[in-house]
């Protein structure tokens, strides 16, 4: 069996007042999009920064192609941090060219600009870009060495929905090039859309790991019914159903949809606003940690 592209073993990162990462291990094979999910403070960014070689771990090991991180990894990795400022007074093209100059191999500046649909903005001062354009430039910089592994740390946080969707399209086109991607996010939709495998982190530990669909199947063999709390009479709350109240909705979890519907009708619960939906990663997170994913 070939060694995974990236492997993390028993990673621990302690700060004087807290343990940010507490014994995290996982392996990422080549070509996979691996997602690290969790709320702020779960330890995702710390884990990823240790993987990137930016932050030294307190203990634990990191391997790239079976070897400890070294020069080869730096040449092969593309990184998009959560927050990055670029050098002032440079145009988009010059910013990309600066980073291209730091790598031995890679794509041409024009290719990268085309890949990230930045050709029209090449001559613009990088500080004058919109949020979405700025993220595309940072992605272009992360791709400038034609990386074997791409780290995306909350790449769409703060973007408007349209810019977020555009960014996802770009990431999908990169996935199509068989690049390995490590993505951290607290957007479930993003993880479900892009990731082949996810690890859910909470309090510095991985609480669940696997393909998103498999995790959902394992943890939720049921379907979810949602009704506005206002439509749900008080008397119906004593029905023999698995009920939870979330954000003004009553959620009913069931294995047998028809039987549950019959029970509700018998109790004269109005079903006009009833919504049946499959559970998503948000529900999974809530189930696993008792916390909501978004802060």
């Amino acid at each position: 069996m070939t060694a995974p592209l990236l492997e993390v073993r028993d990673l621990v990162k302690q700060y004087p007042a807290t343990t940010a990462v507490d014994g995290v291990s996982f392996a990422v094979p080549e070509g996979m999009c691996f997602g690290l999910l969790g709320p702020n403070g779960a330890g995702k960014t710390t884990t990823v920064e240790i993987m990137e070689g930016i932050l030294p771990p307190t203990s634990g090991e990191m391997h790239y192609r079976g070897e400890p991180l070294g020069r080869r990894f730096r040449e092969d990795a593309g990184i998009l941090f959560q927050k990055t400022a670029l050098q002032d007074h440079l145009t988009v093209r010059q910013s990309v060219a600066l980073f291209r100059g730091l790598y031995t191999h890679g794509l041409s500046v024009d290719e990268v600009l085309r890949l990230c649909t930045l050709e029209q903005l090449a001559g613009r001062d990088a500080r004058k870009l919109s949020g979405g354009q700025q993220q595309r430039l940072l992605l272009a910089i992360a791709l400038v060495n034609d990386p074997a592994v791409l780290f995306l740390d909350e790449p769409t946080t703060g973007l408007d929905p349209q810019a977020r969707r555009n960014f996802w399209q770009l990431v999908e086109s990169i996935k199509a090039r068989r690049k390995t991607i490590i993505l951290t996010t607290h957007y479930m939709e993003e993880a479900e859309l892009l990731c082949d495998e996810i690890a859910i982190m909470d309090g510095g530990r991985i609480v669940a790991q696997g393909a998103p669909r498999r995790l959902l199947r394992e943890h939720f063999p049921e379907v979810l019914l949602e009704l506005p709390s206002a439509d749900f009479p008080h008397t119906a709350r004593s029905l023999p159903l698995k009920l939870t109240e979330v954000h003004g909705n009553v959620e009913i979890t069931t294995h047998d949809l028809e039987a549950t519907l019959r029970t509700l009708l018998a109790a004269h619960v109005p079903l006009i606003n009833l919504r049946v939906r499959p559970p998503n990663l948000e529900d999974l997170f809530l189930e696993l940690t008792g916390k909501e994913l978004r802060p």
Binding site: F81, L86, G101, Y103
Partner: protein, 337 residues
Amino acid sequence: MMRRLLAVFHARNLEFVRDRVPFAFTLLLPVMLVIGMSFVLGGPPRPLFKVGVLDGPADEHAHPFVAAEELYVQIVPLTDRDEALHKLTHQQLDLLVDFGSGTRYWVNTDSPKGHLVEKLLLADEPGARREPVTGKALRYVDWLFPGILGMNMMFNCLFGVGYVVLRYRKSGFLKRLHATPLTAFEFLAAQVLSRLTLIVAVTLILYLGIGVLIHFHSAGNPALLALLALLGALSLIALGLTVAARFSSEEMVGILLNLLTWPMMLLSGVWFSLEGSPRWVQWVAHAFPLTHLLDAARAVMLDGAGLTQIAPNLLYLAATTLVFLAFGAWSFRWRID
């Protein structure tokens, strides 16, 4: 390695040249200072003769010449004849007298005041032996000129490098560079080279521009002066890097830079000579790279000194560059701790 270094070097140069206001100030400030100082301190000289007295009697005022001319003559007691003659050639003294066995005096034949005070002396000491010297007057502005160039270099090197690296660290740009194959040495070397190119270019422009403006003519070798400027700038840039290597707080870096620049500005001889100041002040001053830069620059520009004369200063500048760079590289941090 060179490829990465050049990429950072080029980008930093672009950033500096496009940041127009600081760039303009780098050029304009020293010009304004020299013009301002030459107006304030220039003007007609005071109607007083300065006479150096060598190995004079314990009380110089006892001599008939001195006593008779006390109203017009300021006596400067001196023991070192070479130094006294140096002052006379620069017309910092109008006359130099040795009242030893058989009065002997030196007069600068290029100095009109020397000619007049010579007549006063001969009225009292008709038999005094005459030793003529020549040399143009050293104006304050000539003396100040190397000081202003050096001071501009110091501020540019320390604040330029110090704050730029701090800004990069605070904004996370350094952290992003750390995620590339770029090494700390390559990054620091690119910063040093970029700042060095800029400082040498700016100093050359100022040297030529202000030189024309104040009719300054250097007495020394331009190549030696260029070497000195290069080593002086390197030492000061390296000093700036030691401050910027680690800290992430603007306040802290600001305090440290001010702690370094102010004493250097006051004690390195930018504005006035440290001659005659207490020994400990001179001792402190000679720890500063700027003092060595200015001493050597004045020796070359005003007295035409050669390589051997300024070699100790050049060595000091080279040695401090190495010490500062080593410390800077050792304590360098890519990210905010």
